[in-house]
């Protein structure tokens, strides 16, 4: 039997009422509804980049914005599942293939032609349903203690060579990898692309399911592995984060026109179901304007702005000096082919 209760000091007893009062007050103030005039953005771009863009946009237009952040594959699936009830007004992805997929399902509205005219035509959807915002290029990152530039493969297909066994890591669930797979499949055929993926899987061994490009980049830099395939800006972001003195890695480009040398377009689109069409158009217009593109160029996003009048971050090799494969985003289409090949290779 428990002993007789000892009286608590009166002040301590009153403490019990504090949580109750707190909860009551919070319940009244807390679970309120969402303001109806707020623009909702489903964002798969890096949060810091999008936050910088949004605060500049709100400052310029007074339009309030709320954001749902997640990976682009998750957000695409979510929009498809939500259908016409989706709370999203704008979707902003790292790779255009997800916008192409939503477009194919008939979920997107036309982007104003004035916004589309602010970036090169080949970086937009052919039917005008999404607009390009920034560009990234796929590159090799290698550990500069382990490898010299002359030892590196000049084609992405060379990564499946047995001499890289145990020396590379891959991130199949990282959606930046998917346009490269599509590019290889379009150039060399699906059978060759599948064989290449299986070769990569063997070479990566137990490191065949690294979660993302950030991890790949930092692993190469720390010497956990020697080589990985990423988009260029992850390496610049890592350098900005940890400082140049902690960098033990470097970037290398493939031979001009190689199927692994892909220019990816990060883009945005407006949902047909959005009840804030004009605000949504205003946001896309801002993203592609010189003011919005300047935010990209001056932040630590390290992506290439698409607006012809805005120069990229001076640390980057100018886009005009790069020679990626001539595939446009429209030619690469949706990422469904990549997903199918990855499943066949047993990588996802």
């Amino acid at each position: 039997m428990p002993g007789p209760p000892t009286r608590l000091p009166r002040r301590l007893r009153l403490l019990a009422l504090v949580p109750l009062a707190l909860v009551g007050a919070l319940l009244i103030s807390g679970c309120g509804g969402v303001e109806s005039n707020v623009l909702t953005i489903y964002n798969a771009q890096h949060e810091q980049t999008t936050d910088a863009l949004i605060s500049a946009f709100t400052k310029a237009t007074g339009i309030k914005v709320r954001v749902l952040n997640n990976d682009e594959d998750v957000l695409t699936a979510q929009i498809e599942q939500e259908g016409p009830r989706s709370p999203a007004d704008v979707v902003y992805t790292e790779n255009a293939n997800w916008l192409a997929q939503l477009d194919q399902r008939g979920l997107l509205a036309k982007v104003d032609s004035s916004s589309r005219a602010q970036v090169p035509a080949q970086d937009n959807a052919v039917d005008g349903d999404w607009v390009g915002v920034s560009a990234r290029v796929s590159v090799l990152v290698y550990n500069s203690h382990d490898l010299r530039p002359s030892q590196l493969p000049t084609s992405v297909l060379g990564l499946a060579d047995p001499r890289w066994k145990g020396k590379i890591e891959i991130a199949p669930a990282e959606t930046d990898f998917w346009p490269i797979i599509v590019s290889v499949a379009r150039t060399k055929g699906q059978a060759a692309a599948l064989a290449w993926l299986k070769g990569l899987k063997v070479n990566a061994g137990s490191s065949d399911d690294i979660p993302d490009n950030e991890t790949l980049t930092s692993d190469v830099n720390q010497g956990t592995t020697q080589l990985a395939l990423i988009n260029h800006y992850y390496w610049y972001r890592l350098r900005a984060e940890i400082g140049a003195s902690s960098i033990h890695s470097a970037l290398a480009y493939f031979a001009p026109g190689d199927p692994g040398y892909v220019e990816d377009i990060s883009g945005a689109a407006i949902l047909k179901s959005s009840r804030h069409q004009s605000d949504a158009q205003a946001f896309l217009s801002f993203l592609t304007s010189s003011a919005g593109q300047a935010v990209l160029a001056h932040s630590e996003s390290f992506e290439y702005p698409l607006h012809p009048g805005v120069a990229a971050n001076p640390q980057l090799t100018p886009l005009s000096e790069l020679h990626p494969t001539p595939f446009t985003p429209a030619q690469l289409g949706t990422g469904l082919l990549a997903e199918q090949l990855l499943r066949q290779a047993g990588l996802i």
Binding site: L8, C31, T40, D51, V67, Q81, E214, T224, R237
Partner: protein, 525 residues
């Protein structure tokens, strides 16, 4: 946890059958609400169809994941049991100086979320293998779950038994194994059950350390195919239920309740004391020093642009406070009828309701979250992405913690006090407010603190359920750290640890106050 349930309440009292029925009814409703995620999980799996379940579960990867999960659980349970028991012996049975300080320091890892410890160790020692790093991080994060009940059991047990053994010429080592250990066996087992349940449902730390278990796999599948994620939850829940039932089957001896105040334990030799201080310092250094030190390092390292704006940090802090406090308040309020019900009388339905509410301990956060998403999208779209679902998840997940605390307080309220109040002509509501609530105060506060600190550091369910535009400290930390923006992530983790440390300290006081109750309470990380 079943192991801390008191054997029986005060003598049954037959009075006011109408009110009694009301309380049992309320208890039954709470239990049904808590079990709803399991029902929803079943519906979700039925929707997915047998073909999908078969595809996801009966493949070689499942064997691999099961082996990974079980191996890690066993390793962490063994290490946490050894460390937790040894630390408890040091603070309760040895001549350790500054005992009070150590009891607080040793429990501190509870306030640091495992995914923060994982992040710290990963950036501090990236070369550790995933299994080694996961074992280390989870052991450092969960040994307090063993330490707390064992320390409480030792405090309750009469040291005279050990003294008798010493006086009969039995050495300290043999005394420990033949006298002390049998006394705390139940507490060690109960702690291990909590450790295993924590390891089974952990996501963040393993994602960072790249150790794959069923929970990390659910998140990966959720990206491509939410139905496959539902199917993958089945083995996870079964594993949890298995652990709970093993715990329920273990026979228990009621510990001696002749607890005197701590009597002077024969002082240990200087060399032994020095060794103890060194080992405990190392333990606290690894479990608390490394994470806090790493966070401070990244704070100092980061430059202006990667540091988050103060406004974001403040709003994330406020959001975290708000949801955690509401969740904790609701959990404590719901625990009250269940606690009162099971103490008034022990009947089969009351026992079933009582035990049913503990089952949610076996259900990982991600499963509860997925079941609520399923519920909202299919049956109540108005609730979809609302803060209500997030709060509901906190309540379901942390209810058992609230219940254990409230129960131990309810046990202290003698019926005669409320009867006296009533006989003096005071109305039932006034008696409740003026007699019952003040007597329950410590338990309510402890329950609130425990749920609050657990909710502040919750990541998995929050990631799935946080409404659009809502960032908590945990989700912001997670977003930045997954971008390797360690500097930007650090302040969120520091505030999170700070917020959790305050109720943690209140709890520490509550545990050490055996003047009020002699029953230990589990803590979940």
């Amino acid at each position: 946890m079943a192991s801390w349930l008191p054997a029986g309440g005060p003598a049954p009292r037959a009075r006011r059958p109408g009110r009694e029925r009301l309380i049992v009814g309320a208890g039954a409703l709470v239990a049904l609400g808590l079990l709803a995620p399991l029902v929803l999980l079943g519906l979700d799996a039925r929707d997915a169809g047998w073909g999908e379940i078969h595809r996801v579960l009966f493949r070689s990867r499942s064997v691999f994941l099961l082996r990974h999960t079980v191996v890690l659980c066993l390793l962490v349970a063994v290490f946490a049991a050894v460390i937790g028991t040894a630390a408890a012996w040091c603070t309760e049975r040895s001549g350790l100086p500054a005992r009070r300080v150590w009891t607080v320091l040793l429990v501190l890892p509870v306030a640091i979320p495992d995914f923060v410890v994982g992040y710290a160790w990963h950036s501090f020692a990236p070369a550790l293998s995933p299994l080694l790093a996961s074992t280390l991080v989870m052991t450092l994060g969960t040994y307090p779950l063993v330490y707390l009940p064992v320390a409480a059991a030792l405090r309750r047990a009469d040291p005279a038994m050990e003294e008798t053994a010493y006086s009969l010429g039995v050495g300290p080592v043999r005394t420990f194994f033949r006298v002390t250990l049998p006394l705390v066996r139940t507490a060690v087992l109960g702690g291990c059950v909590l450790v295993v349940l924590t390891v089974v449902s952990e996501y963040g730390a393993f994602e960072i350390l790249r150790y794959q278990t069923f929970t990390t796999e659910i998140f990966t599948e959720f990206q491509f195919d939410s139905q496959a994620a539902g199917a993958l939850s089945i083995p996870l829940v079964m594993l949890g239920l298995l652990v709970l039932s093993i715990d329920a089957l273990v026979p228990r001896r009621t510990a001696a309740r002749t607890a005197p105040r701590r009597v002077g334990v024969p002082g240990s030799s200087v060399r032994v004391t020095m060794a103890m201080v060194l080992v405990l310092t190392a333990l606290v250094g690894l479990g608390v020093g490394v994470p806090i030190g790493t966070l401070a390092y990244w704070m100092a390292q980061s430059h202006q642009t990667t540091l988050p704006a103060a406004a974001t940090l403040a709003s994330a802090t406020w959001t975290t406070l708000k949801y955690s406090a509401i969740g904790a308040g609701v959990a404590v309020a719901l625990a009250l009828p269940v606690a009162m019900m099971s103490f008034r009388r022990t009947t089969a339905p009351r026992l079933v309701i009582d035990r049913a509410t503990f089952v949610t301990q076996a259900v990982p956060g991600v499963v509860v979250a997925l079941s609520l998403v399923f519920f909202a999208t299919y049956y109540a779209y108005g609730l979809y992405q609302s803060s209500l679902l997030l709060v509901a998840a906190y309540v379901v997940l942390h209810f058992p913690l609230a219940l254990v605390c409230v129960k131990s307080s309810v046990a202290q309220v003698p019926a005669r006090l409320t009867d006296v109040g009533r006989s003096l002509g005071v109305g039932p509501m006034a008696v409740f407010a003026r007699v019952t609530v003040p007597l329950l105060a410590p338990g309510l506060i402890a329950g609130f603190c425990l749920v609050f600190l657990t909710a502040v550091t919750e990541l998995t369910a929050t990631l799935v359920l946080a409404p659009i535009g809502v960032q908590t400290l945990a989700t912001q930390f997670w977003a930045f750290q997954s971008e390797v923006a360690y500097g930007a992530a650090a302040p969120y983790a520091l505030v999170m640890v700070g917020l959790a440390a305050i109720p943690g300290a209140v709890l520490g006081l509550w545990f050490d106050r055996e003047r009020y109750t002699r029953r230990p309470v589990p803590i979940a990380a």
